[in-house]
């Protein structure tokens, strides 16, 4: 029967070409939009997690309240004790201490006086520690534009844009001028070992990366860190697990009377990510529902038109003795075959476009130039297994629904009128 129906579809393309075209377009758009939304969403989540929020983040309570001011005087102290207890209680979480600090990068002339300078944001990551996952997590190697990853503690990586602004070359000695956690002046000569592109305008404007232990030393923060980031198993964010750990940790510390007691936040609690993530999920859901409804209506209409065009065919088949339910059943199976073909082509096209946008991306760096949040400057689509179903199944359902609705006309045909119609 299937073979017979496929032959019918292939030999008479006029009855399938429009539905296939409609489904193809609809499925392709659904797959493409879903891929883009998912890609942007996961880029935003990963970028925020890796660069700023972690899947979990621990700070002292007063630091958390003023974190935009980078208040390192309120940082976590006795970090090793805290880390030890976390590793014991939550063994599958990787804990990464980090320090953010502000200051000035000053480039000297040949007399050792200021030639050019600029305000900067220092980011201290554990990059010299071979056991640390930070280098891989931050994708530092793949983000290098020039030079190499620091090999000694006084070497730093500067954002490429900032290095160009300061006219720096590899190996140049520059001075970091800032303040310790208690406010004393810090003058530190450092060497630029390379330049990096963070891929987020906020950091690309004027940041540098320094090894954590060296930053702890020059900022008088031995065994201290501004923030302690936690990353779940396989570096994959699991909101339910993150929430469980947060609740458990904060419950244990609820009676801690220390003014500088630690507090834990999840990724969703930071950078206004919760409403962003919820909104994007909602948009994806609404889009798919609207698509299925709209496609069903279009295909219903297409089916009605097709039904009218195939009026005689159904009439002859009924006249030859085929039962109405059988014709209706054939029609539904035929719709499934057409739906499958359209959905298949649409999915392939949608995934292909997604692949293009995954590899090339959409550059929003100009639009995001003035933003103060961690956002990727190049938005990319993301191909995942669910993209192969997200358009395919609604495509199939909408074709089936459309045909089921339009095909009801078969049951309204009267045998007496049928022969009269066939005489014409």
């Amino acid at each position: 029967m299937i073979k017979f129906l496929i032959k019918g579809i292939l030999r008479d393309p006029s009855k399938s070409i429009i539905p296939i075209f409609v489904i193809t377009i609809g499925v392709m758009v659904t797959v493409l939009i879903s891929g883009l939304v998912k890609g942007i969403l996961s880029e935003v989540v990963n970028k925020n997690a890796n660069l700023d929020t972690g899947h979990l983040k621990i700070m002292t309570k007063p630091y958390a309240e003023n974190k935009d001011q980078l208040p390192n005087d309120l940082a976590i102290l006795d970090l090793s004790i805290l880390k030890e207890s976390l590793e014991l209680n939550y063994p599958n979480v990787d804990w990464a201490p980090r320090i953010k600090f502000a200051g000035i990068i000053d480039v000297p002339d040949k007399n050792g006086e200021t030639k050019i300078q600029g305000p900067t944001l220092g980011l201290a990551y554990s990059i010299l520690n071979t056991e640390s996952k930070e280098l891989k997590r931050l994708g530092i190697e793949s983000s290098l534009i020039k030079g190499e990853i620091p090999k000694s503690e006084n070497q730093i990586l500067i954002s490429d844009e900032f290095a160009n602004k300061l006219s720096l070359s590899l190996g140049d000695e520059i001075t970091f001028f800032g303040s310790t956690m208690e406010g004393s002046m810090v003058f530190e000569k450092v060497i630029m070992s390379g330049t990096i592109r963070f891929g987020t305008p906020l950091l690309d404007k004027g940041s540098f990366i320094m090894d954590l232990s060296y930053a702890q030393k020059i900022l008088d923060m031995e065994d201290g860190a501004g923030e302690l980031l936690g990353f779940l198993d396989n570096e994959i964010y699991n909101p339910i697990r993150a929430e469980e750990i947060k609740k458990d940790f904060n419950k244990k510390n609820i009676n801690n009377l220390d003014e500088y007691a630690p507090i834990m936040l999840t990724l969703r609690d930071q950078n206004d990510l919760a409403p962003t993530l919820d909104l994007m999920d909602l948009i994806t859901g609404i889009f798919i529902i609207v698509f299925v409804l709209a496609m069903s209506l279009v295909l219903w209409n297409t089916g009605l038109m097709g039904g009218l065009r195939r009026y005689n065919e159904f009439g002859i088949r009924l006249a030859l003795g085929e039962s109405k339910p059988k014709v209706y059943k054939f029609l539904l199976i035929e719709s499934l075959i057409i739906g499958t073909i359209g959905s298949f082509i649409g999915t392939i096209l949608g995934v292909s476009f997604c692949y293009y946008f995954q590899e090339v991306g959409l550059d929003f760096s100009d639009e995001l130039a003035g933003t103060s949040i961690v956002m990727p400057s190049i938005m990319r689509a993301h191909i995942s297994i669910d993209l192969f179903f997200i358009g395919f199944i609604p495509g199939l359902i909408s074709m089936f629904l459309g045909t089921a609705l339009s095909g009801r006309g078969i049951f309204k045909r009267e045998t007496a009128r049928l022969f009269k119609e066939l005489e014409v």
């Binding site: 208040p71 006086e113 303040s179």
Partner: protein, 249 residues
Amino acid sequence: MKLTLKIILGFFVSVNLFSQNKTFPTATSVIKKIDFNMLSKSQIINSEMIVYGKRKSRTIRSRGYSEGLNKNFTEYLYPEREKGTKMLRLQDRLWIYSPSTDRIIQLSGHLLRQSLMGSDLSYEDMMEERKLSEIYNATIVGEEKIEDRDVWKMELTALVDDINYFKRILWVDKQRYVPLKEDLFAKSGELLKRISFYNYKKTDGRWYPRKMNYRDMLKNGKGTDFIVNEIKFNVSIPDQYFLKSTLKE
């Protein structure tokens, strides 16, 4: 009857005017006297700054030399971390010398608004040496008492654009012509800093506070105490103190 009333009214008006003239001198004359007390042709000052941090406090000792309104040189003496750090201000430019790196760094523009060594003072606060009478229009707005001393409450509004604080409210000691308290405002009207002056002593005919507390009102905390251990007015200071080349010496 009308004539009697006019005479009585005239008497009260003239008494009131007389008493106002006696209590409220012109605001300009008051701030000129403040300028006389607080500024001098030159001065050498040994001071310490106590920075009250969130977790601990720090004491920083320094010796400062200033000449006129545009030259200022400060050498930090304590603690070890700051020892040997020098700052030179000429006009509106500031250079900092760090002995650990043997580098001279120039600060300018918005970087001067940063905190000086974690204190509640900014580099700009430290650099501001202009006479109040030249950059502010002053009015006396009332009389109050601060710690049993009679004060005039004065409002100063900026006459120039290049100024750190658009408006100041001063509580000025009526007898000594010195501020006991000062609130500093942004152009938006937001209170940015509060300075309290304590322990005035007379040296070389000038009343000068031996302790000042600066509080950044945008932060929570006790602020920063600036304590004057020794001050000399109108002394001769060799020119070499105000040369950039001598910072490294």
